[in-house]
């Protein structure tokens, strides 16, 4: 006999307003059905009613853990639709900020994951503490701690100030010492290993069939990374490693994110070395744009949670249609497949290892 239990929408471990209807066979999960839509704001429709440069603030609220990545994606989509070139220096600066954002997001992930597994907030506080340092850097660069809106067509709102490079490199040095501490803290913990290794295995073929992306896909042995395979900005000129793990379990998904943080730091250092002198400020915010008529553009970005893609039909002054491929929307869809047959207690680490942000799922 199946017991049906309802988890959420208000629950400590559902990462926002997610409701899971779980059918349990004893303590084993027979079926999980995610009920989403509690945070649906109709952004895709909203954007159709706004002029191009009125929308970035809305975009930031999609993924509130890594707001800049979505903002940047939207601005890039508009740039591509309008045919605007981005200044070289601004491209490097965007890369630096996006990678900082990725580190912050992954630190959040580690904290949330340990919390889902029942650690008494220690991992959470550690992750948040170091994330705060990154947020401080982002605040230094943009003036805001969480929601930046610092992208302009063709560049940034403002150039980095003189000491910013020093501050970033100092924080990176610190982070390089901190990450081994996380590894020691978690990977040497037998209970942590027990709870994640071999739990929530997503096989390579299933991962492709289910359309998951980002760290979840790479942890299943598919080394697809938009930064390398569909490169944008100067990612193709940097050398960063192809990353994939073959485990496909929660541990691989955790491990891959730790590896990604290291790679991000390498990218940041290299970007600073290669960044040309000059000016990176973009165009002033103008609401009126040169007219475009039904031009279709598709832009993909590797945001911390996977591949975010915008399909835009550009209209006159306003997007005619903007369709967002949210990586977590489809990663969450895979939850049922991954969690089936596991214990109820494993549902939370599995959900945590998918790193969902409900605002991005519901759009």
């Amino acid at each position: 006999m199946l017991t049906r239990i309802n988890i959420g929408p208000i629950h400590p471990s559902t990462h926002g307003v997610l409701r899971l209807v779980v059918d349990l066979d004893g303590d084993t999960i027979a079926n999980v059905e995610p009920h989403i839509g509690f945070l649906h704001r109709g952004v895709e429709k909203l954007v159709e009613t706004r002029m191009y440069m009125q929308s970035p603030p809305y975009m930031e609220k999609l993924d509130y853990i890594a707001p800049m990545s979505v903002d940047e994606l939207y601005v890039s989509t508009v740039e591509k639709a309008l045919g605007i070139e981005v200044k070289e220096r601004a491209q490097y600066q965007r890369m630096i900020l996006l990678e900082l954002q990725r580190i912050a997001s992954h630190l959040f992930f580690i904290g949330a994951l340990t919390n889902d597994m029942g650690m008494m907030f220690t991992g959470f506080m550690w992750g948040f503490r170091d994330r705060e340092l990154i947020l401080r850097l982002l605040e230094e660069a943009t003036g805001q701690r969480m929601f930046y809106v610092n992208m302009r067509l063709g560049g940034m709102v403002n150039d980095f100030h003189g000491d910013f490079e020093q501050h970033v490199l100092k924080t990176m040095d610190y982070m390089e010492k901190r990450i081994p501490e996380y590894e020691k803290f978690l990977e040497k913990n037998p209970i942590f290993k027990q709870r994640t290794k071999g739990v929530g295995v997503l096989k390579r073929d299933d991962a492709i069939a289910l359309g998951v992306s980002g760290p979840v896909l790479r942890a299943s042995g598919v080394p697809y990374d938009v930064r390398r395979d569909n490169p944008y900005y100067f990612y193709k000129e940097l050398n960063f490693r192809e990353m994939s793990l073959n485990g496909g379990d929660s541990f691989s998904r955790y491990r891959l994110r730790v590896m990604e943080m290291r790679e991000s730091m390498r990218i940041i250092r290299e970007s600073f070395r290669k960044m040309p002198e000059g000016d990176s400020t973009g165009q002033m915010v103008k609401l009126r744009m040169p007219p475009v008529k039904n031009k279709v553009v598709t832009v993909a970005r590797e945001v911390p949670r996977g591949e975010e893609l915008m399909y835009m039909v550009a209209g006159d002054q306003k997007p005619y249609r903007l369709s967002i491929r949210s990586p977590v929307f489809i990663n969450l869809h895979a939850l049922n497949h991954i969690a089936k047959g596991h214990r109820l207690a494993d549902l939370y680490p599995i959900l945590g290892s998918l790193d969902v942000v409900m605002a991005d799922v519901d759009r």
Binding site: H11, G118, R195, R343
Partner: protein, 334 residues
């Protein structure tokens, strides 16, 4: 000196030939022990918050009272002032009674323990056995609370509590049997007496580890807090316990820690034996250190899964406890 005179006064009263006087003194003793327990629990509610805050680079409570000492009192007042609510399909009487029963078990077990050499309210030959018999009721009451709440999360927590008992109870009884074997009887004062030369923690280190792990599970401390499992089951068996009863549950957390620490100190760390300081102080110091260790564990581990608990119990703890029994037997007889 003061403790000594109170001790002899109490002991004289309890041993009085008049049954009424004896009962009166027993009640007085129970009240004193309850006060001691409450103070300890309150203090540790605060210490735990501070220690865990330290581990997490936080400050912990620091607003209400000096160093946040009154924070827990504020919480307690808040909870007691709250309305008691039960779900419509809950058996409210069963829930309330079993919550009270759980606290009573803890008090009863502490009453059975000799806190000082001169004063053992209920020092009789089978004390050790009685402690664990009484303790065995606590998962049952836990189960009743969870099950009677009519909440599915409560029910899951209750089921887990029963499953855990299957995992850890047999190793526990074997270790207790080993202690009785080494002490030559089930009297708790006898157990402490047998440790005068060598604490049992050194005589049977494996048994100590097994007992410690089992006590962690018994006390519902992480990583064995599966029945409460706040990030999984909301609050497990406590999900629908509200108001003063929830305050009682929070108290229970720390009183059980006190009980567990006392048991560990008495059975393995030679109880109140120690130089210079009065015996009661020695016992409390030992219990304090054990409690502190338990708290630090809480700050660093993730929760075990129920099947892993059973695995731990049957595959590791059970053989270890049997090996412990054999090794101790050989040491004692050899």
């Amino acid at each position: 000196m003061l403790i000594g005179s109170i001790e002899s006064f109490m002991q004289a009263g309890i041993n009085s030939s008049d049954v009424l006087v004896s009962i009166l003194f027993l009640v007085l003793y129970a009240v004193l022990v309850s006060i001691l327990m409450s103070v300890y629990a309150y203090l540790f509610g605060w210490i735990e918050r501070k220690v865990i805050a330290k581990a997490q680079y936080r400050h912990g409570p620091n607003v209400v009272g000096k160093y946040g000492l009154l924070q827990n009192l504020a919480d307690l007042v808040k909870l007691i002032a709250k309305e008691v609510r039960y779900p419509s399909n809950a058996d409210s009487r069963a829930m309330a009674l079993s919550m009270i029963g759980l606290v009573s078990i803890v008090v009863f077990v502490i009453l059975l323990l000799p806190l000082t050499p001169g004063l053992a309210a209920t020092n009789f030959g089978l004390g050790l056995l009685l402690v664990f018999v009484v303790l065995g009721f606590s998962p049952l009451l836990l189960f009743i609370t969870g099950f009677a709440s009519g909440n599915k999360f409560g029910e899951l927590g209750a089921q887990r509590s029963v499953l855990m008992v299957i995992g850890y109870d047999i190793p526990l009884i074997i270790v207790v049997g080993t202690i009785a074997l080494a002490a030559g009887g089930f009297s708790i004062t006898g157990v402490i007496g047998a440790q005068q030369s060598l604490p049992f923690a050194l005589l049977m280190p494996i048994g100590f580890i097994v007992f410690f792990i089992v006590m962690l599970a018994e006390m519902e401390r992480p990583p064995f807090d599966l029945r409460e499992a706040d990030s999984e089951l909301i609050a497990g068996w406590l999900t629908d316990v509200s108001g003063p009863y929830y305050a009682l549950a929070l108290m229970l957390d720390y009183t059980r820690m006190f009980m567990g620490s006392l048991l560990i100190s008495i059975l393995f760390l030679s109880g109140w034996a120690g130089p210079l300081l009065p015996p009661l102080v020695w016992l409390l110091i030992k219990a304090f250190i054990v409690s502190l260790f338990i708290i630090i564990i809480r700050a660093t581990v993730v929760r075990l899964r129920i099947d892993k608990v059973l695995r731990l119990g049957w595959i590791y703890l059970l053989p270890l406890s049997i090996a412990n029994l054999l090794v101790t037997f050989i040491i004692l007889k050899g």
